[in-house]
């Protein structure tokens, strides 16, 4: 019984230091501190707290037991007695990388806003930190209601970030973002309540709900309810239209948070809820989702070609890259899912870095148009170097992070269906085309005359901000093993559950080989059982 085993492991790993609560709520402590200090110190406090948050979040990673799919660092406290809702948090190999990604990027968001945000600095930093708490809360929640609370809470600070500190059309973009995501998630709440009553376990515990069996017709309904919430957040084609608006109007820090962290929430939702809770429906509808993913890959890339605004170009490339993520998830094999998680982290690093790059140049030229920023290599050589690194990472150049993720996803897709993999691979080629074209114009084009006098190269602060991301680009590109090791056990567990459903299905013989986990995982799984 995997469920009992899981329970046992939870018992075993709980009771330690509440690392996750500390990680999640540290930013809120920072908010309290910001309210107490004067406005000029607000950004220092925000930087200090978010950096500390990153350091603290390294602890769960260092102490993480890679051999088990069970939740670790679990804390459970009763929140509401009837119906039973708990404050329950924990991480596994799927959520831990995303937690680290969030804590890594928040201090960078503070730094990039250092001079860019001049008005209402205190409120800005508060919104950013509340946002961090809410996103971290989503990744570590083990109770579905708690998850939903964090999931929705996040909307308010993001709405304010876009709407107050954004560009000229910020109000429209903010309300569009808000209503799209809210409309998507209302069905999620109903689905959560329905799950509660059907599971009959008198619990909103995510693992308990995952262990319960639901009739296929119900799974189908719930699948689309979940899909509405998660697909808007990813965003999948055709629910992506809020993304370019939000990205273009948001301040740099907002764009980074959106691209690097917020978009991951939808994909995380698929991994944490749709796949394990609704395996039958997932099998049934996977081809629809795969189709939409492939459309997103091609369509996003195609739209990116046409953009004259750098932020919009990156926004559409995000749609394309997130298409790879959903593709990887719904091919339902270990390679695809690991590739998807890796791609989520990579996209967070690379796209976050690209938005930071745009923010840096925007501070100098006050324009995001490609024509206004051409020929930067002559006056800003260091900047040009970083831009080329991250752009090539976005293309998926071997030796860089995105290559590994996309490669895994494509391998997974190839095992599922060769045609899907072939079309998706086309997306990689298109990405190379639009990114290189962008680079050609921005880095190597004729310098835009009216700008050149104002341009100065990156200062140490900005280099310090991009250097760690550049390091991660190469680290993950050359040696992804530490990151993959964290995921193996959890992903295998997830895939085995899918495999079990496939075996029960009428025609298992055709696809069964495709979902077989890699040989080493067979060894991992029994190890977990015996612990």
């Amino acid at each position: 019984m995997p469920s009992r085993n899981e329970r046992f492991l939870i018992e075993m790993s709980s009771g330690g230091f509440p690392w996750l609560t500390l990680v999640v709520f540290l930013p809120l402590l920072g908010v309290a501190a910001i309210l107490l200090v004067e406005e000029a110190l607000a950004k220092w406090v925000a930087l200090g707290v978010s950096s500390l948050g990153f350091l603290v979040s390294l602890a769960p990673w260092a102490l993480f037991d890679e051999s088990t799919p069970a939740m670790q660092f679990v804390e459970t406290h009763q929140w509401i007695a009837s119906p039973s809702i708990n404050y329950a948090v924990g991480v596994d190999g799927i959520s831990l990388p995303l937690v680290l990604l969030t804590t890594l990027l928040t201090p960078l968001c503070v730094v990039v806003s250092w001079t860019a945000i001049q008005t209402r600095v205190r409120e800005f930093m508060i919104s950013l930190l509340v946002m961090e708490t809410a996103t971290l809360g989503v990744f570590v929640s083990l109770d579905f209601v708690l998850f939903y609370v964090f999931w929705e809470t996040m909307l308010i600070p993001m709405y304010l970030l876009i709407g107050i500190w954004g560009g000229p059309n910020r109000v429209y973009a903010a309300i569009k973002f808000f209503l799209y995501t809210l409309a998507g998630s209302v069905l999620l709440l109903v689905a959560i309540i329905v799950l509660y009553f059907y599971a009959g376990a008198e619990s909103f515990d995510i693992l308990t709900l995952s262990d319960a069996e639901y009739p296929p017709w119900l799974q189908a309904w719930l699948f689309w309810a979940f899909f509405a919430a998660f697909a808007v957040k990813v965003p999948m084609f055709p629910f992506h239209t809020w993304l370019p608006d939000a990205h273009v109007e948001a301040p740099t820090a907002g764009s980074v948070m959106l691209a690097s962290v917020l978009l991951k929430l939808g994909a995380y939702g698929f991994l944490r809820f749709s796949l394990p809770m609704l395996p039958d429906a997932t099998q049934q509808f996977t081809s629809v989702v795969l189709f939409l993913s492939v459309v997103a890959i091609i369509y996003g890339a195609y739209m990116a070609f046409a953009q004259a605004d750098l932020k919009k170009l990156i926004a559409y490339s995000s749609v394309s890259h997130m298409g790879f993520v959903t593709l990887g998830i719904f091919v339902l094999n270990a390679q695809g899912i690991e590739g998807a998680i890796l791609q989520m982290v990579n996209h967070g690093i690379t796209t976050g870095a690209l938005f930071l790059c745009v923010g840096i140049v925007y501070e100098r030229t006050h324009s995001r148009e490609i024509v206004d920023n051409s020929g930067l290599a002559t006056s800003m050589p260091v900047y040009a170097t970083f831009l080329v690194i991250f752009a090539l990472s976005s293309v998926g150049l071997p030796g860089m992070n995105s290559f590994v993720g996309e490669f895994f996803v494509l391998v997974g897709a190839f095992m599922w269906n060769k045609a899907v993999a072939a079309v998706a691979a086309l997306g990689v080629i298109l990405a190379a085309a639009y990114i290189l074209w962008m680079l050609q114009r921005v880095v190597y084009g004729t310098p835009a005359k009216h700008m050149s006098s104002k341009l100065y190269d990156m200062n140490w602060c900005e280099i310090g901000m991009l250097a760690p991301l550049a390091f991660l680009v190469f680290w993950i590109g050359l040696y992804p093993k530490p990151l993959l090791d964290v995921m193996h056990a959890s992903v295998d567990h997830l895939v085995q559950k899918q495999a079990k459903v496939m075996m029960v299905d009428a025609a298992p013989a055709v696809r069964a080989p495709a979902i077989a986990a890699r040989p080493s995982s067979e060894a991992d799984a029994p190890k977990a059982e015996t612990r």
């Binding site: 509401i80 308010i156 709405y159 107050i164 209302v186 709440l189 109903v190």
Partner: protein, 491 residues
């Protein structure tokens, strides 16, 4: 005739409130004008005493005056809520009435008289007693709505409220008389017995039931009986609007539920569909029409209609065919929870409108909120909190209220109703967030910038703090309120 002492003890809170109300009317002329605040404090003190008395006797079911009045956990819950709400209204009014130059102590007397009516409503176990309570509440409110007696809008509000209120009372009374014809009594228990005896198809009782639902529909401002609400809410003094939107709605729902469940509990299949229709209309129309409002008071009026629609979900669940007693009680308790939560956030929002009223500034137009975040950070943040809570977004109490309602709906097999409710909650986010947008994302005009002070009296600060505390604390730790409503629910 001797009235037994035990009966008088049972209605002790009502007696306290009504005697203080009369005392206020007597003391008003002989109190020097700079001491009028004392009378307000006196009424707050009376409410505090009542709170202790009611909270102390919470739980046991006592009936008095040969079963005309009943004091059970259910009635006590509503009374506790009503004390809090009335107290907050009075505290808010101390500064607001001065700003409007209508600071007469009669005001507090009428608030307490109206409160007496509400207390009688939620405690009434007889349709005539409930009717008496409704009239006492309504007549006091007619006076309060027209309290800005030099202003045409306020008088219009009062007159409109009076005419439509009297009309709806007439319908209700007609329904009661038909019931008396059918059951030979107006006691809820005997009505229930008559319903059992005469069956579900009795046309006399069906007509009476419809009239009763229409009468209460007016009082809780459910569509299609909501027409009076926007004009009356907009024209009345803001603190009175808050009182009407919160207290009178809560009391009317309290009485409505008891009548439907204890009197017509045997006819659930007959009325649950009707209530469901009213509930859907209210949800849809209230939320859609609120979108186009530019006056915040009017917007909040439509929002209060929409929230009546949400509260009605609880009644639909309680009456839905095939639901067991447990499910039905969950419907009742979720509605009680919802109205309690609604009271805090709505009072908070109206208080904010009240403190923006300053000098020539009406403070109730959407433009008056422009750039508020630049001028008054704290006030803007509180308004943000109330708006977010009204939209039902966590971690505020508004989410908890909706969550329990939808839990109850799904539990009763009304999943689609929960879906409709949630979709319209998303719609409502649009108009609530518009206030946030205006406050945070628009620049204040130069003369707004120069108008730096708010009409923020110390007592209004207390009201805002209480409302905000309710919205945040019940959002983060709702269990005390949840367990209270669960234990006080009607079976």
């Amino acid at each position: 005739m001797m009235i037994p002492l035990a009966d008088l003890v049972t209605i002790l809170p009502e007696l306290i409130v009504v005697s203080v109300a009369c005392l206020l009317l007597v003391l008003d002329p002989i109190t020097p004008s700079h001491r009028k605040d004392l009378l307000a404090w006196m009424s707050v003190a009376a409410l505090a005493v009542c709170f202790i008395v009611t909270a102390g006797s919470m739980g046991d079911r006592v009936s008095a005056f040969s079963d005309l009045v009943v004091v059970d956990g259910y009635a006590s819950f509503w009374k506790l809520l009503l004390y809090v709400v009335s107290g907050m209204t009075i505290l808010l009014s101390i500064g607001y009435l001065k700003e409007e130059r209508i600071d007469l102590a009669e005001f507090y007397g009428f608030v307490l008289l109206s409160l007496t009516g509400m207390m009688v409503m939620v405690s009434g176990a007889d349709l005539l007693v409930i009717y008496l309570g409704i009239e006492l509440m309504s007549i006091s409110l007619y006076v309060l709505a027209g309290f800005k007696r030099f202003e045409a809008r306020s008088i219009e509000s009062s007159a409109k409220y009076f005419i439509l209120g009297a009309f709806s009372s007439g319908l209700l009374l007609y329904g009661i008389s038909l019931i008396f014809g059918a059951a030979g009594s107006t006691r809820l228990v005997e009505i229930a017995a008559a319903v059992d005896a005469r069956g579900l198809d009795d046309s006399l009782i069906l007509i009476a039931l419809t009239l009763v639902i229409v009468g209460f529909g007016f009082k809780v401002a459910a569509v299609p009986f909501h027409m009076w609400t926007p004009d009356v809410y907009q024209g009345a003094p803001t603190s009175v609007t808050a009182f009407m939107a919160v207290a009178s709605k809560a009391a009317s729902f309290g009485a409505f539920l008891r009548v439907m469940l204890e009197g017509f509990g045997g006819m659930k299949p007959n009325w649950s569909g009707l209530i469901l229709g009213v509930c859907l209309l209210t949800l849809i129309l209230g939320n859609l029409v609120a979108i186009v409002q530019t006056n915040v008071k009017r917007m909040l009026a439509y929002s209060s209609i929409a929230h009546a629609g949400y509260a009605l979900i609880g009644l639909v669940v309680a009456g839905w065919a095939g639901t067991g007693a447990g499910v039905s009680a969950k419907g009742v308790s979720s509605m009680m929870l919802y109205l309690a939560v609604y009271s805090f956030m709505t009072l908070g929002a109206f208080s904010m409108v009240a403190i923006l009223r300053r000098g020539a500034n009406e403070g109730e137009d959407l433009d008056d909120f422009t750039g508020l975040a630049k001028r008054h950070k704290g006030a803007a943040f509180l308004m943000l909190l109330f708006m977010v809570s009204l939209a039902g977004i966590p971690p505020t109490a508004g989410f908890i209220g909706k969550f329990y309602l939808f839990m109850a709906a799904v539990n009763a097999g009304l999943t689609w109703l929960a879906v409709v409710g949630l979709i319209f909650a998303a719609v409502s986010a649009f108009y609530y967030l518009r206030v946030v947008m205006v406050m945070y994302m628009r620049e204040p005009s130069p003369d707004q910038e120069s108008e730096t002070r708010l009409a923020l009296s110390p007592t209004a600060t207390v009201v805002l703090a209480l409302a905000a505390a309710g919205v945040v604390l019940f959002g983060i730790y709702p269990w005390p309120l949840v367990s209270l409503t669960a234990s006080a629910s009607l079976p």
